[in-house]
Structure formats: C-alpha cells, structure tokens
Amino acid sequence: MAEPSVSDAQLIARALVTDDRHAFAELVKRHQSSVRACLRKLTAGNHALADDLAQETFILAWRNLASFRQEARFSTWLYRIATNSWLAHNRKRREELLGDRVDAVAEGEDETMPHSDDLHADHARGAALKIDLERAMGALSESERAAIVQCYHNDLTHEEAAYVLDCPIGTVKTHVLRGKQKLKAALAAYAR
C-alpha cells in the first residue's frame, strides 16, 4: 500500500491549529475500517453497536486531539479510545441490567445462542470453527477478550496493548494467557 502524501501527524496538526474538519475527515477515512473492525470483534459481531461506538470514538478523538502526545501511533490511540468506549458501554449496560431483572435477560441471551451441535452438521469445518471461536471469545472476560483482540486481531505488541488497555505489560500477558487457556478448552475438539 502506498504511503499517503500527507502524514497523520500533519493532518492532526492542521485539525488542531486551524480547526480543519476536512483534515480530521481524512483521518477518519484512513482509520475507520480498522477501528470498526476492532469494535466488531470486541462486541462479538454486533455491527450496529460497533459502528455507534466507532462514531463515539472519533468524536472523542476530535474533542481530545490536543491531548494526543504522539507517544503512540494515532491508530493505537484510537484503539485505546475505542476499547474504553466499549468498556464504558458494557458498564452502563450492566447497571441497566441490575435495574431490571438480570435473570430474565440472561435467559433471553441464552435463547439467542444456538447450540454448537446444531451448527456442526450444516457448516463446513472452517465456518464452524469460526463460529465456535466467536462464541468462545464471547465467553471470555472483558479483559481477556480485549487483550486477545489487541494482540491478535489488531496485531499490537504487548507494550502497545498495555498502552491501549492502560495496564502493565505483565497484566496483558496474564490476560492473554488466561484467555487462550479458556479458548483452548472451548475449542478442544478441533485440536484432536
């Protein structure tokens, strides 16, 4: 892929100094795909929610552009905002659920998850593996899922993932390890 003629840093400077919305729009165009893909992964394939959170991510980026110190790549900074938006959404949702009847909602969620045995018969192995992987990812804790998405889906180093998740590198490694142990158990059938 050819390098863009104007760098991210130059576009950020334009957006900051002259309040240039066209420059910021160019930044959104460049990074929308990766940010939306990351959020789709974090939200376990909920595209509508992922796009809402992606929009929120870019609006927050616009508001806080002056605080971007270029200590990380712009894309990594966006991943950080996106992950925080997703975590905040989950917190809000949990609070709402606590206000309602938690049991009823949990049962409803279970009904929307088809049993894996029903799927295996009709799908090719690769498709079934993908579905099972998505489901297994959905069963991970927020921290484990976020760490695995940053390290594998976004291809970040442990150091970059630690920046995105705002935690020490050792904690990222622990979350990845625990997440992989759970995935391994959930996908054990494919290892035989």
Partner: protein, 124 residues
C-alpha cells in the same frame, strides 16, 4: 502467517501452538478485509461538535476589565507608579539605543519565536 486458508486445520500435536496459529491466521484474515466507508465518515463529521465561538462582546469586555484594573491600581498606589515611571525614565535616558541594536533584538526575538513554533509543530 503466509497460508491462504484463514482457518488452518489443527495439528495432531499435543501442544497448543495450533491455537496461536489459529488466532494469528484469523487476525490476518480479518485485518485484510476493508470495511467500506459507506457514509460513515460523513456521519462522524456531521456529528462533530462545533467549535464554541467566542461572543462578539468578549474581547472589548476583557480589554475594558484590564484597563479598569490598571486604572484602579494607579489610583490605589499613585506614588508607586510615579516612582516607577521616574525610574524607567532615568534608566532609558542613561542608555543610548541605536536603530541597529533595536533591529537586531527584534530579529533575534522573531527567530526565537519561529524556531519554537517550528519545533513544536515538527513532524514526528
């Protein structure tokens, strides 16, 4: 990962390298998919909060406040300001500033300002 198959078959080996390979392969496959913008950027730009424009009266109001503060200080401490002006007058009357030295000082100040601005806006 160079394989074209995003979901490679798991090896028979007892180790869990297959899971690592699977996660890497899925990551590579998913990163390769470009999500079409489909109006997303336009929606974001439309939703951006507009810059808060300062009201027209703000600048003259602030100037009037500063002016009022200075006048209040002069009224409150008249002797201090008389002494200050006398000292400044005595200091400048002793010094002889040539046009060239004033120009050199201005050029040095401008260079310093532009240098600092260029450094802070430099491309990383």
């Amino acid at each position: 990962m160079t394989t074209n198959d995003p979901f490679p078959p798991a090896p028979q080996a007892a180790d869990d390298a297959w899971l690592d390979d699977l996660l890497v392969a899925v990551g590579v496959a998913e990163r390769a998919v470009y999500i079409d913008d489909a109006g997303f950027t336009a929606r974001v730009v439309d939703a951006l909060p507009s810059a808060v424009a300062a009201p027209a009266w703000r600048r003259p109001f602030v100037a009037a406040l500063w002016g009022g503060a200075v006048i209040a200080l002069v009224i409150a401490m008249p002797t201090f300001f008389v002494e200050l002006l006398g000292t400044a007058d005595a200091l400048f009357s002793l010094q002889s500033f040539s046009l060239a030295s004033v120009g050199a000082a201005l050029v040095a100040l401008l260079a310093l300002t532009w240098g600092a601005a260029a450094y802070s806006l430099r491309e990383n």
